[in-house]
């Protein structure tokens, strides 16, 4: 087909490489995705309650992490934290493992960049909760904390599903940079396969398609969630 050679796809070695890499990429994305949503909730709460000292600090950290490349953050964490060198003992093998391995640093850099964006997203959701809802709850005797936990936050999360989806897809795409610090994700194995087969274009096309497929599946799933939790009368129908 067009002079392309896809016979290497039948090789069990490359298949196992791609499966292993895919598992790492998905694990990275899931861990970083969940953490970034948690960071978003905590950060938005800190900003919402104007917690003294923490709030200005959070604003500064958002500014820092949103306006610098995640790749530079990754290299920075990788070099600085490997010097710190905490380690823990793996209960299964008894071997000493560094806490700040490449994997941790990748998760960390994804969390800082996309977590900062998640805070902004949830904050925009909270600010679009109508003030009548908040005032009504306050007059019924809810405290500010109760209003936040039972009304503003759930409504904000429901309204911002499409924006959060973009953020998660961005995490999946950015996780490709893990290969640059020798974390064995799918991009890493793809570059290994290219070195062995010299079929650069073919391997790249397969890799590209896999990422597009993951991103499309996540977007479609999130669209279903978005429809299910949509608040009638708010937000755009997509």
């Amino acid at each position: 087909m067009f002079g392309f050679d896809f016979s290497w796809l039948g090789d069990p070695l490359y298949q196992s490489w791609f499966m292993k890499g895919l598992a790492t990429t998905l694990l990275l994305s899931v861990v970083a995705g969940i953490l970034s949503i948690l960071i978003g909730i905590v950060g938005a709460a800190i900003l919402h309650f104007r917690t003294p000292f923490l709030a200005p600090f959070t604003v500064i950290l958002i500014d820092l992490f949103r306006n610098t490349p995640p790749l530079v953050q990754l290299f920075f964490f990788y070099f600085m934290l490997s010097d710190v060198g905490f380690s823990f003992t793996d209960p299964l093998t008894g071997a000493s493992m560094p806490v700040f391995s490449g994997f941790t640093c990748v998760v960390l850099s994804l969390c800082t960049f996309n977590g900062a964006i998640a805070i902004e997203i949830i904050r925009s959701g909270i600010s679009s909760v109508p003030s009548q809802t908040v005032e009504g709850a306050r007059s019924l005797g809810y405290t500010r904390r109760q209003v936040f936990l039972t009304m503003e936050l759930p409504l904000a999360l429901r309204m911002t599903v499409p924006l959060m989806t973009n953020n998660i897809v961005s995490i999946i795409k950015t996780s490709a940079q893990a290969s640059l610090v020798a974390v064995t994700d799918i991009t890493y194995y793809a570059t290994q396969a290219m070195l062995e087969t010299f079929l650069n274009i073919e391997v790249m096309m397969v890799l590209w398609l896999i990422y597009v497929a993951i991103a499309t599946i996540v977007s479609l799933g999130a669209r279903a969630i978005s429809r299910a939790v949509r608040i009638p009368g708010y937000g755009l129908v997509s």
Binding site: D63, L64, N67, V72, F79, M204, L207, W208
Partner: protein
């Protein structure tokens, strides 16, 4: 001084203070040595040469690559965005498919792909051209950014009320003329903040061109670390973070300010 400007300045100097704090915490008593290393290497990191009299890459290469990709992405994005609003369903659906394909692909993988897809030598009308890594980086970065620009353009077109289209058509304008003379002049101001945000995102993405072998700031940083020792890795990367921040933060802040101004004008006008 307005409130927004005060906030922006607090953010700007706050981040610089945080980076400085991390620098001091990491180096302690050796901070002065690290500062000396950084000042010696500043010209290399900024413009890619040992003195300030010639230009060879560094952070300036990032700026150049980002500007070139932005031009390419704007031209292509406008045509693609126009195609996604075309009346012909064939053209429209194909364009939407292409946009989604380009948007969902990771920048790093696209850059890798361009590295191998584009030949090292290109012969046009018998003349041999050597394709530099920077040119490949520009093409690679343009792919996802074209998709973002086409989305920006489409959203801008759709923000103009349908009545404008209909009345222009009633006056006998053709589709192209309506777009050029009636819709675009109204849509452009709406698009400016989104274009600026896209550019900031593209600039952050230029950090990835290190894989194409361009002399960008990250590859220079790696060279500096290799020659001056791992001890100064933290300092060098902090400096690179600072460079990116100083360049991107004003763009991001200004785009948000403009967006708020437009929204306010829309509410009152």
């Amino acid at each position: 001084m307005s409130r927004e400007l005060t906030h922006a300045l607090i953010g700007f100097f706050g981040v610089i203070a945080v980076l400085g704090g991390v620098f001091l915490a990491a180096y302690g008593g050796d901070s002065l040595d690290a500062v000396i290393v950084l000042t010696n290497r500043a010209s290399l990191l900024l413009i890619g040469s040992n003195s300030f009299d010639s230009v060879g890459g560094g952070f300036l290469a990032n700026i150049g690559i980002s500007l070139a990709s932005m031009v390419v992405a704007t031209v292509l994005g406008v045509s693609l965005g126009g195609a996604t609003t075309a009346p012909n369903p064939m053209v429209r659906n194909t364009a939407i498919l292409v946009v989604n394909l380009m948007r969902n692909s990771p920048w790093l993988v696209v850059l890798y792909a361009m590295l191998y897809l584009i030949p090292f030598r290109l012969s046009i009308f018998g003349t041999e051209y050597w394709v530099s890594p920077a040119a490949k980086a520009v093409v690679g970065l343009s792919v996802p950014v074209t998709a973002y620009m086409s989305e920006v353009f489409r959203a801008g077109i759709q923000s103009v009320p349908d009545g404008q289209w209909e009345s222009a058509r009633a006056l006998g304008y053709r589709r192209g003329a309506i777009l050029r003379r009636i819709i675009l002049p109204q849509a452009l101001p709406q698009m400016i903040p989104n274009i600026m945000t896209t550019y900031a995102m593209l600039f952050i993405g230029t950090s990835l061109v290190v894989v194409t072998g361009t002399k960008d700031v990250l590859s220079v940083a790696k060279t500096v670390i290799a020659s001056d020792g791992d001890d100064y890795a933290t300092a060098v990367y902090l400096f690179v973070l600072l460079l990116f921040f100083i360049y991107c933060y004003p763009i991001a802040t200004a785009s948000r300010a403009i967006e708020q101004k437009i929204r306010k004008a829309g509410l009152h006008g």
